[in-house]
Amino acid sequence: MNSAVNLIETPGGVYALAYWLAAVLFISVNKKKMNKWKLVITSIVFLIILVGAMELNHPVSKFWFVPSVLLYVFIIGLFLYVSIKLPIMNIGFYTARAFLVGEFIGSLSWQLFYFSTASDYFSNKVWILIVFAIIAQSVFTMIMLLLEQRFKADERDFTMSRRDFITTVVIVSFIFLFSNLSYLSGNTPFSGQAAEDIFNVRTLIDFGGVALLYAYYIQITEFNTKFEVSKLQNLLKLQVENYEISKKSIDMVNQKYHDLKHYISIMKSAELESGSIEYLNKIETEIKIYEAQNKTGNHVLDTILTTKSIICQSFDAQLSVIADGSLLNKFETMDISTMFGNLLDNAIESVKLIPEKEKRLIHLNISRQKQFILIRLENPYSGTIKYKNGFPITTKTDEFNHGYGLKSVQNTVKKYDGSLTINADQQWFEIRIMIPIKN
């Protein structure tokens, strides 16, 4: 333990610890794949692997420099992959960030150590270096953690495109190359000769890289949120527009129906043969069906139900409704149309995929329980349901639209202080909504 440290070459262990801390930082803020104890054991295993790989591989020749760095990146990536529950592209992005953060806190802590040995406060002993590295790096990691915590969980599950990913890889490669240029050759415009220069260049460029990726990350997540908001707004507009079109046509049918009823009564009052009267009676009972359909006590709901049952009929699905629509009379038209429009559209999309026609059933209930409105929508489904942020996404439908419908329903339910839960068992899918009735 008394051996002196070679001050120009940064020991592998310092970087191994830095990479590891950075990886742990990004794991801690994301959704994990395993429980606490498994995670602790996995982390220890990866710490040993990283320290082992970097110490054994030290010092590294110029030829092996880049391949060994790629190996370390791979180990960090693997560590994140086994621990974080996110798509592979996002893991790649976090790996890049962890690598740069690791580079930065590694070189910064080493630079500080180097500086303090020069000023005679410390002697350059290995054990001092270890204590110093652990303290300094932990402090830097904590600062990074604070910066990282401003992102919410659902922002982390952003959609990472290939282009974003390639950009990230290019940024990281350049940052790394420039920061380490002095080690490969002292004779370039960006290299330094003296130890202080080398350290300064490296730390500053790494700092720039960390900041750049952080900014890039903010940009991606903000773009994602904006995209989602505009998607939700479009959906909202669409449901309202649908509702207005349906309302017009249904109103027209109703108008015609009333006219017809009127004509029939006039014709009946005229003296006709008994056969004609019978015929008129028959017409009367037949059109009665149109009158009675979907009278729930709420006009907006009636219109939506009529439209959706026509869609259902077109592919032999059955929409059965027992609903006290009057419970919704205090709701805004837009809210009713988004909520039920989206709920029923989702159910329709889902039962459409069922090959057996007799299984295409959609059942809607709206009822009151004490001071609560209960809404329940049930339908069978085929295949399996995947969840993203607690929302089900169907595997077969359009990649971009899934989940948004329910998300907008969720927003409406939230607006009324209610609860929305999703339950899927025995091939039945059930959405349950409860909204307190305000005094």
């Binding site: 009675a292 059933l361 009151r368 609860s419 839960t421 039945w428 005094n439």
Partner: protein
């Protein structure tokens, strides 16, 4: 064993329903006991709460299904009512008699059997369970289903029940463990409520039998979700 009543005036539908039910009996390995009534009036006269499920036709000669259902509900709040109809518009008001299900004619085996499966799933488990606690003058046996809510004050646990208030000393951990599979929810550090008695929520106030219990902000979402699920599981 599931006791089912069929109320239907059309002989052909009675035969069809019986066939579908016996198919279900074989597939599900459940014993069904089926009673047939040919009019709403027949089942309503001398009605005894003897059935788990009633399959009710809507259009019948003497007494229609909705009227019969209303009369049945006056005497039996537990039975599951499922309407069988070819006129869905007439069952829209089924919610008035706590009937949230119907099956359309012409009948399909899938639709009928699935509604019965759902109904069985929602049938109340009527077993009564008790919790025995030490009170000042001995041991008190408390019917868990009759607890409104439980209050925790310092080291005292206070049971607010239909039959009165009981104070005891009990570890919260033990208590929560005991109530795990019951309809209870810890909505605050000092309150555990029986979801069955929650009448309303206004902001962070829960009204239980005209008493106000607080829900803490951090547990509000979980609480409303639990209540939502509870209502769904007990509704017919």
């Amino acid at each position: 064993m599931i006791r089912i009543a069929i109320v239907e005036d059309d002989k052909n539908y009675i035969i069809e329903l019986k066939n579908l039910l016996s198919k279900y009996e074989q597939e599900s390995n459940q014993k069904l006991i089926i009673t047939v009534f040919e009019d709403g009036e027949d089942i309503v006269t001398n009605y005894k709460a003897d059935y788990d499920i009633i399959l009710m036709d809507i259009e019948m000669h003497f007494m229609d299904g909705m009227t019969a259902a209303t009369k049945i509900r006056e005497k039996d709040s537990e039975v599951v009512l499922i309407f069988i109809t070819n006129m869905p518009q007439y069952v829209m008001e089924g919610y008035k008699v706590d009937a949230l299900d119907y099956v359309l004619k012409p009948l399909s085996y899938f639709a009928l059997s699935q509604r019965i499966v759902r109904a069985i799933g929602r049938m109340k488990n009527r077993s009564i369970s008790y919790i025995s606690v030490m009170i000042s003058n001995g041991v008190q046996k408390i019917d868990i289903s009759k607890i409104y809510y439980i209050e925790v004050q310092n080291h005292d646990v206070i049971f607010h029940t239909i039959n009165g208030i009981y104070t005891t000393k009990l570890s919260l951990r033990v208590l929560e463990k005991r109530l795990e599979n019951e309809s209870f929810f810890r909505c605050h550090k000092s309150f555990i409520v029986n979801l069955a008695y929650v009448d309303s929520i206004q902001n962070n106030d829960i009204n239980i039998n005209n008493q106000i219990v607080q829900v803490s902000r951090g547990r509000k979402k979980e609480f409303v979700d639990a209540l939502n699920n509870y209502f769904n599981e007990v509704s017919k």
